[in-house]
């Protein structure tokens, strides 16, 4: 069992649910409301430092009694340790959980994918849009168990809606332009870009 689990229990008490070990990986269940605090603690506390978010995904089980789970894979690059954090959401209730994008920028598209496939809303996400299906997709959330394999609409209706979608609508110019993200880059990368020949960059001074 990963020693981080006991440290989490000592710090957060009841917010930490059960923990188990599966195939050598430790899984710890965290209450929905405490998620952001727990994640920030795991990332920043010396001795734990899970600084790399491997993946965000979700699971719905065939057993309708079981809740949906949002799964976070964490890794500490310096300590070479893994921890899997899960949040349980009642599938009949409110499917909302705090976004971890403020902690890991890389969670942006991962959470968009979970939103696209499962309909789980991430509170505080900067740009929560569908990412795999097109944005006007109206049939629901394909990886939910109540979603029929062939989709809800007839094939003709699916073709009609797919043809009506604009091929250019998937990307915003902000997404494609590194110049807009320039201010948020780390200082060393800014310096490298400034010295390089990658075209005009906005003045940061």
């Amino acid at each position: 069992m990963n020693p981080s689990v006991d440290a989490l229990r000592a710090t957060f008490g009841n917010a930490i649910g059960r923990a188990l070990e599966s195939c050598g990986d430790t899984i710890v269940y965290v209450g929905r409301d405490a998620l952001l605090d727990v994640m920030a603690w795991l990332r920043d506390t010396p001795g734990h430092t899970y600084d790399y978010l491997v993946d965000v995904t979700a699971v719905e089980y065939r057993d309708r009694e079981r809740p949906l789970e949002v799964v976070y894979g964490l890794r500490s690059l310096s300590r070479r340790a893994d921890l899997r954090v899960k949040v349980e959401l009642d599938s009949q209730g409110d499917l909302t959980v705090d976004s971890v994008v403020p902690l890991w920028r890389g969670a942006d598209w991962l959470e968009r994918e979970v939103y696209d496939m499962f309909g789980i809303t991430f509170r505080g996400h900067p740009d929560l849009r569908r990412i795999l299906m097109w944005e006007t997709y109206a049939e629901g959330y394909p990886l939910r168990k109540d979603f029929p394999l062939r989709g809800r609409f007839s094939r003709a209706e699916q073709v009609r809606q797919a043809l009506a979608a604009s091929p250019e609508a998937h990307y915003s110019m902000e997404e494609l332009s590194i110049a807009d993200a320039y201010e948020e880059l780390p200082a060393d990368m800014k310096e490298r870009l400034r010295r390089g020949t990658r075209g005009e960059l906005p003045d940061s001074e």
Partner: protein, 206 residues
């Protein structure tokens, strides 16, 4: 023309005889040039694209059949080769590519998935690209071997050589989407997309 008609060789023939001969000659020349200098626009989405690349490479080399220049711009292409399954998200893309190609144009649907949806009978996949663009040659296989694609190209040659410039039927009219935004009537799309083979055992959605 009058003097030609009065010569011994064609006297007694209808004047249409010469005209028909002339049309045959023009058709032969035009079709031979079209068929033997096809410019393919590869639209590779999956494993079929690997076989397509093998067909284009030196061992199979479809440049032998006039497809020397691959056009990666639809505006300078004759044949759209859809190699691989087509997700619904790419439906509007392939339709736009087809619309951008100049006339005359042909489409080869390469592989089981492009032709029928193949093993992907699910919510995300177009069940045959003929619901989106008109298809001239279907190449079966999963994926087809290069010989299969070459056979499809040769069939397309045959088809092109059977066409005529002088048909009054608007053979290669632009085929815009109708006011519903579809190429075919909805019933026909549903019929084309019916499950078959193993996928009939899945539960139905619509």
């Amino acid at each position: 023309m009058k003097r030609v008609l009065e010569t011994k060789h064609v006297s007694g023939q209808s004047p249409n005889y010469l005209l028909a001969k002339f049309q045959d000659l023009v058709d032969w020349a035009v079709n031979a040039s079209r068929a033997n200098s096809l410019w393919p626009m590869p639209f590779g989405t999956a494993c079929c694209a690997i076989e397509f690349m093998a067909t284009a490479a030196s061992r199979y080399d479809f440049a032998r059949f006039g497809m020397e220049r691959q056009a990666f711009s639809p505006r300078q292409a004759d044949v759209l080769i859809c190699a691989g399954r087509l997700p619904f998200k790419l439906a509007s893309v392939i339709r736009r590519i087809y619309d951008q190609m100049p006339q005359p144009k042909w489409v080869i649907s390469m592989g089981a998935c492009a032709s029928t949806g193949g093993i992907f009978d699910n919510y995300a996949m177009v069940q045959g690209i003929d619901t989106i663009v008109p298809v001239d040659v279907y190449v079966p296989g999963c994926p087809p071997r290069p010989e299969g694609l070459l056979y499809g190209v040769l069939l397309l040659h045959k088809k092109i050589k059977g066409e005529s410039l002088f048909d009054h039927v608007p053979r290669r009219e632009e085929q815009p989407l109708d006011d519903r935004g579809l190429r075919l009537p909805p019933e026909q799309i549903d019929e084309i997309s019916e499950p078959f083979g193993n996928s009939v055992h899945q539960f139905r959605s619509a």
